[in-house]
Amino acid sequence: METDVQTQLIVAVRAGDTSSFGTLYDTFVRDIYRFVYYKTHHKEIAEDLTSQVFMKAFEKIGTYNEKKGGFRTWLYQIARNTVIDHYRSEKETKSIEDAWDVVSADDTSALADKNLQIEQVKKYLQLLKSEQRDIVIMRLWQDMSYKEIAEILGKSEASCKMSFSRSLKELQKIMPEAIFLSLLCAGFHSLIV
């Protein structure tokens, strides 16, 4: 959605035109839902938290400041904070910020959807810090720019790039074994076929 159109819609919402919020909602809801799902791995929780995100956005739209960033990044900020609040309120542990931080022996396997794709990388991404992981998710799974990521996290672009770089280096340390094994298996398979 073009920025001008977005701005007009926000102005209209502030003036009382709720239908304009519907247009904004239509534009962003699916991306926000996916982001929340990536962090919760659970359909019902993701739906509940997505509802909270848009309810908050609707109620607080008067506080949105265009100068601080785009509407999309503002929504992502709300989404990220909502997920953090959810897990902290449930686990009473400040180090828990999303489902990735939940120790598997606790309740992850029971609560999380059985998503094999997540399982493949979970053991690697789980070892990253929450903020590092969010940068990886937003950059690789949601194709967001460093500028947007920086606005969401309240950091500089350079800082986000550095963090992403460090994340890859850490993944590099733990993933080579898996890569070696997968290459080995592929080579063995080619011998017997």
């Binding site: 003036a15 909602y25 809801v29 997540i118 799974w141 550095m162």
Partner: protein, 520 residues
Amino acid sequence: MNTNSLDTILAELYALDPSLSTREKELREILQRVIESKPNVPIDEQFISRLRSELLQKEIKQNPFSLFFSAMKQNRVLAMTGGFAVVALVVVTALVSSHSPKSTSLSLRDTSVANQESAIAYVGKSAFGSISFSSPGTSGQATGRGGGGGGSPTSAVAPLSMDSKMIAPPLFNYSFHYAGEKFDLSENSLPVYKRLKGSSFANQIGSLVGKGNDLIDLSHFGSVRAQSVYLLQNGGDNYAISLDFAEGRVSINPQYEKWYPNPCDKNGNCSTPTPLTEKDVPSDQKLIEIANNFLKQYGIPMGNYGTPVVDTQWQQYQPLDAAVRFVPDTISVVYPITIDGKDIFEMNGEVYGLRVNVDIRKMKAQGLYNLNVEKYEASQYELETDVNKIIAIAERGGTGGYWYGASEKDTKVNLGTPDKIWIPYYQYDSEKQTNTELYIPAMRFPISNVPSGGQSLFQRFIVVPLVKEVLKDFDTNTPRPVDPPILLKDSEVKTDAVKPETQGIRAPDEGEATDPNRRY
């Protein structure tokens, strides 16, 4: 993510740390694995719709005056009246709030979906509770808006396009027999739609009235909301606009004293307008043109409606005696509505929608009915799948039923292959005194083989609801057929059957089936 994007990411990393370029192969592999592991997230579109509906029913805390003037600019229904005056009949039903009320612009239709279908929120199965005719707490089905009339039981009722000169024709006895093709009812459930009536504009109006009048300080009453507002246009076309916030409905009527002044002078001498004849009836094209121009002039959005058609039901109510046959002063143009892609019809099978009444003497739009808040919830309800049962009920007259048993005379009438439609169904809760407006699936059977002189058959269709709960009530609560009225019992009906074609009004001929695909 494609290779180009991967290259971009790597380039960004190398710009930051050139040493990483020596391990490109591993980095590329890692990035590829993470990208490929991106979960496929199925999105429940019903959740998306439901949340949207909930959000758009919320209100924004704003200054009511700024919102009012904003609404005046945005809202076409109010803007159309030009220089209007708020007159006496403002009915306030609660108390004025002393603080800024929650309010927003009157949104009769979600403008973000203008020219698209109405807003639908999908809720759980049987979410509207029991919709049985005889469910506890209800006083049964409210009268539907069949027969070409407009309005709901709780709001201004549109006058039927008929004349008091009409004399009831003699009654015939009919028996219906299904002669259509084989059909099946394979769907176990279909959505029932519930119209969401309220408008948050009511709170805004209530607050404004509270602040703006000199008679009484309504702030002492706390929070108020307006239930209905009646506005009179000053000059121009002299319309009267009724805004019913409880029903979420707008209707427009003529200010009768301006449109139809007293025909009698002070001496009691009254002038009688010349009766209209069929020659005075404008063409359908002309009637639709008048209605379209009216809607355009007053900014009534037409995007959510289908192709307009002229209501010709008045022709069905013609008496057999040509001498007393009449042409009504007003003829309606109907703009069909759809809900969630479903065509909606009246309970008698005729088209349903926004109605514009055209005064054919003045060749001018006289009024408008059924301009509604088009927001709905949809809930799946269990359907009857026994075809034979549906046909049996149709042959007993469907929802309306026929009054009398089959006569000894040959009055067999055929029913053609049905089509699936949705019809209004009202449920009045006597305990809460609320009227719920639903739209339920039904089968519509066209009537054919109407005998000559059979003008007492005032319908072209037999309609049978499909929802099991509703069907059960029609099936058992009303005995069919009923005994004829005492005056007609054991008496022979005599009439000089006059073929309608000789009077210029066309009725279905014997052997001709009503085309169910024609919306009128």
